[in-house]
């Protein structure tokens, strides 16, 4: 029996007169037909299209590799899961099971961590907007409060007096680490003395316990050496506190911002080849701390809040081709059923998109559009793709970070998120949104309840 060959549209391609080589000049695509040994088609059939797929195994693997990278270079290391990167409870709990604390940046995230069962004393509370109620809660729970500005410092001071409790605090320090842009909007500046000033205020107040120092020098950092600069500056501050007050800083929190293997827009080479590995960051931070002059009796705990680098490549977005179209300038476009509303990171990255079924070796420069009726809804502006038909399935790689938190309900309803556990069983960890769910919050003034068209 002969099977019917797959139809692919005809394509005209300009002859490229490069230097010939033995590999030829065409781009090879590998179809990604399975995620963790489960066929993409099956996942879509069972959970709909589009669907986010998270791999528990890969999360654990990433976490352990990161922990190993730091633990073999520095004696005391603690990770804190950055909730804003992905705060689906199932994802958080995988990290908590592995030993991660929680790092939150709002009262809502704080409550989420508590409801996940994280002990209050293992929650790091960051961010510029902590309400008085939030702070009170954090003080009662012995959480680690990272002060962002003087107003917060004064509020804490008042709360310490009124609640008669000693908040555990750290300050967030920003500094020049030799990279652009310099993140100086959060915390206190190192170079102009604000940080030292804040530390003195805390130490003199006597009603707060200074437990740590925190910095977060940027996001998607491509230069590990910046972390070395940051670590030595924090160690310098710790040493100054020790000298002046004979007080030992208990931890140094280096924040996160480690690049994942995604490719930033505008990069010349793919991120997977050029972005530094977590080991490079670990090496820079650990050796800077070990080489610093800060020598307390017990080395301070090194806290890391890395989010993206641990989760990004542990999730995929599966979707389906809706239509193909040719633009006025002759450029090919493919429309898929997921847009920037759920793949927010397509604003930042050139996401790798793979077809999920076999295809021929021919490809064409294509624009991938989402399904939204909005001009901004572009997944890839220009990508060489095989010739896809309606109903073909595609896999977007490395979508674990920020998408499942920054996504928005816009035009379409948000899809299911499923997790494949290490045994290969698929669990729904967030159901798709339904109309009722959205309507639940809406209220209709009586006079608008009815109309007659």
């Amino acid at each position: 029996m002969t099977t019917k060959k797959r139809y692919e549209r005809p394509v005209i391609k300009r002859l490229e007169s490069n230097m010939p080589n033995k590999y030829g000049s065409r781009t090879e695509f590998e179809p990604v037909t399975h995620i963790e040994n489960i066929p993409v088609s099956e996942l879509i059939a069972r959970y709909g299209s589009p669907v986010f797929v998270v791999s528990e195994k890969k999360i654990r693997k990433n976490y352990r590799a990161a922990r190993q990278a730091f633990e073999t270079r520095y004696p005391r290391v603690q990770f804190a899961w950055s909730y804003k990167t992905n705060y689906l409870n199932a994802v958080c709990n995988v990290f908590h099971q592995e030993g991660s604390w929680a790092e939150v940046v709002s009262g809502f995230e704080y409550d989420k961590a508590i409801s996940n069962g994280v002990d209050g004393s293992k929650i790091i509370f960051n961010g510029p907007d902590k309400t008085e109620a939030d702070l009170k809660k954090a003080i009662t729970n012995n959480s680690l409060i990272h002060i962002d500005h003087l107003e917060e410092l004064y509020t804490l001071q008042e709360l310490a007096i009124s609640t008669k409790q000693k908040p555990k605090v750290a300050i967030r320090v920003n500094m020049d680490t030799g990279v652009y842009p310099m993140w100086d909007r959060f915390g206190f500046n190192f170079e102009n003395g604000q940080a030292w000033d804040a530390l003195n205020k805390i130490m003199y107040s006597g009603n707060m316990e200074l437990v740590g120092l925190h910095t977060h020098i940027g996001t998607f950092m491509l230069s590990p050496s910046a972390y070395a600069v940051a670590a030595s500056k924090l160690a310098r501050l710790a040493q100054m506190v020790q000298q002046k007050y004979d007080h030992e800083i208990k931890y140094i929190d280096m924040g996160g911002g480690f690049a994942s293997r995604n490719t930033l827009k505008g990069s010349y080479l793919p991120g997977i080849d050029t972005n530094p590995h977590i080991d490079d960051f670990a090496e820079a931070i650990a050796s800077a701390l070990m080489n610093s002059d800060y020598r307390p009796k017990t080395p301070p705990l090194l806290i890391l809040e890395t989010g993206r680098a641990l989760i990004d490549d542990a999730a995929w977005l599966l979707g389906t081709v809706i239509a193909n179209k040719r633009l006025s300038d002759g450029k090919r476009t493919t429309i898929v059923d997921f847009g920037v509303n759920i793949l927010f990171t397509s604003f930042w990255y050139d996401h790798r998109v793979s077809p999920a079924q076999p295809h021929t070796a021919y490809s064409e420069d294509t624009v991938i559009y989402g399904p939204l009726c909005m001009n901004i809804d572009v997944i890839r502006e220009s990508v060489s793709m095989p010739l896809l038909n309606k109903g073909d399935q595609v896999v977007v790689h490395s979508v674990g970070a920020y998408n499942m938190t920054q996504w928005m309900q816009f035009i379409t309803l948000r899809p299911k998120v499923v997790m494949i556990d290490p045994e290969g069983t698929v669990h729904i960890i967030r159901n798709n949104e339904k109309l009722e769910y959205l309507m639940e919050l809406e209220q209709m003034p009586q006079h608008l309840a009815t109309f007659d068209l």
Partner: protein, 732 residues
């Protein structure tokens, strides 16, 4: 009054006397001492002269400033005692007799001290040699002392008895004499009696009872020694009356106890050695009797002394088979205690005498070549380890592993395994490409650290130019000194570690244990101490944690107070005490029970317990039997506790009889470290221990304990047995 005065001037006078009696059987046991004293008093004058000799010798020893500990143990008293008993039996009492007795006691004491000093250098005991010197000297010299008259009491034993205890005693004596027991049985008891110059069955029975209360094992060996002597005599055709009537039988008994149960850890091997000594004793007693007959001297315990010294010297000089049988290193004056604690402590406490060495890195590493390895750890260099790192899948590299940087261990910090001075280093040898080896500089970049006399550690194949220390520099344990590399004979990056006795790079290796490390199996951490990592183990060093260190740091004079959680009126308090040997213990203020403990770099350990086993301190001894100074959530620790703490006394007594060969009781301790709550300021941690008492592999009793540490102290202690829960909170 006088007793009061003596005990003021000479504390523990009574112990020194009773121990002098029990010491003849190597024991320090009050009840046994009293029983033995009773036996000597059957011959009243002899008994009294023995007692006088002991008192004179002990007071003389005390006044001349000899070690009080030795006097109290009866080590200076037992030889004069034997001399006094012997003289009391042979001579009539009278002024000149007592005069002679006093000075012979002093002579015996002097001989004891000097012989002790000489033999000490060879690690040997003086046994009853001073007694032999004393009694022979008097026997010979007495021939010239006209005022010393030979006693005639021995001839008219029954008259003596009658005058001492009237008809009832005589009847008892006759009853035992007329017993229709087999000859060897009677001979055994008579021989026991003969040790105290009491040649009758009754004395022997009481002595046997004393022996049995002191030690079941010693009793067993005494019987074994005597029976085998009896069989041997029959076998080679020496007439048995030789044995029964010449009263040399006790030589077999004492030798068998000494060699089989007292100076060695009792076991099948020690029994074998005891049996081997029997024929030697037989020859020595026959030959000794003949030779000494020239001087008309009895041979007494000479064969026992010679054979025990010869055998002990041999055992001490051994180069191999140190445990077949093992010598007793810390004498507790009880074969049972020696045996039970050696079973547990031989390995458990071994590291206390060793320099504390830790793994020279942070985090988990894989042992890819261990002692006696497949590749290079051979012959003189066999005590060495190679370490590499793996990922979750067990691979040692990422990508294809074609570059040194792909290997997880490459460039990772290498730490000093212990404090020391850098004695040798080599740097500048390039790191090899993967698969290549540099046979010219076999060891590659290396560091040798001098820790203590005869102990160096060598770290090799280090990364080029990664060494951050200089020759002669002092480094602290855990300080980073270099990075793992691929130099020298190293086809792929790994860290080589060995301990050696010399400073040169590549010296022959030394078999030395690590003080502690953690092994991981299926991600479950288990604590190991005093041992070495083996092939394919995943190992990590213990990270010492302040909380665990401070909570179990007991300072002499410190008082630990406890309050019952349900009933705050119920309180307990323990004080920390230290004795002259620098041994520390917790003392219960209610019961004076003592729990002895030691501290090492990585562990807090209780070593033994004495006193009331119903006290809370006993529960604490069990529950906090061993505490690791580091905190790793989930860390498991397994250890055996000595059988002496077994709860069922009857089973314990039964166990004593078979203990040297087969132990059916066991007490196992295990502990799991709970998760830490906030490792920053108010950290606290739960330690859950379980003590399981089992007989023949069946669990008979299981106790659970929970210890909470917080604010640098033990904040609560809970014991759970069945449904019964006792919870005590710290109350200072």
């Amino acid at each position: 009054m006088i007793g009061q005065k003596i005990s003021n001037a000479f504390p523990l006078f009574k112990q020194s006397v009773s121990n002098s009696y029990s010491q003849i059987f190597f024991a320090r046991h009050e009840l046994m001492g009293i029983l033995l004293m009773l036996v000597t008093l059957f011959d009243l004058y002899a008994g009294i002269s023995g007692l006088i000799a002991v008192v004179v010798a002990n007071i003389a020893a005390y006044l001349s400033g000899l070690s009080r500990q030795q006097i109290i143990s009866g080590l200076y008293g037992f030889n004069p005692l034997l001399v006094g008993l012997g003289l009391g039996v042979y001579y009539q009492p009278g002024l000149s007799f007592y005069l002679v007795l006093v000075f012979v006691s002093l002579l015996t004491l002097l001989v004891t001290v000097s012989l002790g000093g000489i033999l000490f250098k060879y690690g040997l005991p003086y046994l009853s040699l001073p007694f032999l010197v004393g009694i022979w000297v008097v026997t010979i010299s007495a021939r010239e002392i006209t005022h010393l008259e030979i006693s005639e009491r021995g001839i008219f034993t029954l008259n003596e008895m009658y005058s001492l205890g009237g008809m009832p005693l005589l009847q008892t004596y006759e009853f035992f004499n007329d017993l229709e027991w087999a000859l060897p049985v009677k001979a055994y008891f008579r021989s026991l009696g003969a040790i105290f110059f009491q040649y009758h069955l009754f004395a022997g029975l009481i002595i046997a009872a004393g022996l049995l209360t002191w030690s079941r094992i010693a009793f067993l060996f005494s019987v074994a020694g005597f029976v085998s002597a009896y069989l041997f005599y029959n076998l080679i055709g020496i007439h048995i009356t030789e044995l029964s009537y010449s009263y040399i039988g006790f030589n077999f008994i004492l030798t068998s106890i000494a060699i089989g149960a007292f100076f060695t850890i009792p076991s099948g091997y020690s029994l074998l050695w005891a049996l081997v000594s029997i024929p030697l004793l037989a020859f020595l007693s026959l030959a000794g009797s003949s030779v000494l007959w020239i001087f008309q001297l009895p041979v007494f315990s000479l064969p026992f002394n010679i054979v025990v010294l010869l055998l002990l010297y041999l055992l001490r000089t051994r180069e191999r088979f140190h445990t077949k049988p093992a010598l007793v290193l810390f004498q507790q004056f009880s074969p049972e205690k020696n045996l039970y604690s050696s079973v547990v402590n031989q390995r458990r406490l071994a590291h206390l005498a060793k320099f504390p060495l830790r793994l020279p890195f942070w985090g988990k590493w894989l042992v890819t070549q261990a002692v006696d390895g497949k590749h290079t750890h051979k012959n003189a260099w066999k005590y060495a380890w190679d370490f590499e790192m793996t990922d979750d899948d067990g691979k040692t590299y990422s990508d294809k592993g074609l570059k040194t940087e792909n290997y997880y261990c490459f460039g990772k910090p290498v730490l000093a395994p212990a404090d020391g001075y850098i004695s040798e280093l080599e740097d500048g040898i390039p790191d090899n490409d993967i698969g290549d080896v540099n046979l010219q500089s076999n060891w590659g970049n290396s560091i040798v650290i001098f820790h203590t006399a005869g102990l160096f550690s060598q770290l090799s194949h280090l990364k080029k130019e990664s060494i951050t220390v200089q020759k002669g520099q002092f480094v602290k344990a855990g300080e980073q000194i270099a990075a793992c590399g691929n130099s020298g004979r190293s086809p792929y990056p790994h860290l080589h570690l060995q301990f050696q006795a010399a400073a040169e790079i590549g010296s022959p290796t030394l078999d030395y244990p690590f003080s502690s490390f953690i092994t991981y199996k299926n991600d479950k951490p288990t604590f190991r101490s005093s041992t070495q990592p083996s092939l394919n183990q995943i190992v990590a060093p213990v990270q010492v944690h302040e909380l665990a260190v401070k909570a179990f740091h007991f300072v002499p004079g410190q008082e630990l107070k406890w309050k019952n959680a349900e009933n705050p009126a119920l309180t307990e308090s323990w004080t920390v005490e230290t004795n002259v040997f620098n041994e520390s213990c917790l003392v219960c203020s209610k019961t004076s029970a003592k729990a002895w403990f030691v501290r090492s770099a990585d562990l807090f350990m209780f070593t033994h317990f004495e006193g009331d086993r119903n006290s809370l301190l006993f529960e604490f001894y069990l529950g906090a039997y061993q505490i690791v100074s580091g905190l790793t959530p989930g860390l498991t620790l397994n250890e055996s506790i000595t059988i002496s703490v077994y709860h069922n006394r009857f089973l314990r007594l039964l166990q004593d009889f078979t203990a040297p060969f087969y132990r059916f009781l066991s007490v196992q301790y295990s502990q799991v470290q709970g998760g830490m709550k906030n490792s920053l300021s108010q950290s606290y941690v739960n330690l859950k221990s379980t003590v399981v008492f089992s007989a023949f592999g069946h669990i008979k009793l299981s106790k659970t304990y929970e210890i909470t540490l917080s604010e640098n102290q033990i904040s609560s202690f809970t014991c759970m047995e069945g449904n019964q829960i006792k919870r005590y909170n710290h109350a200072n």
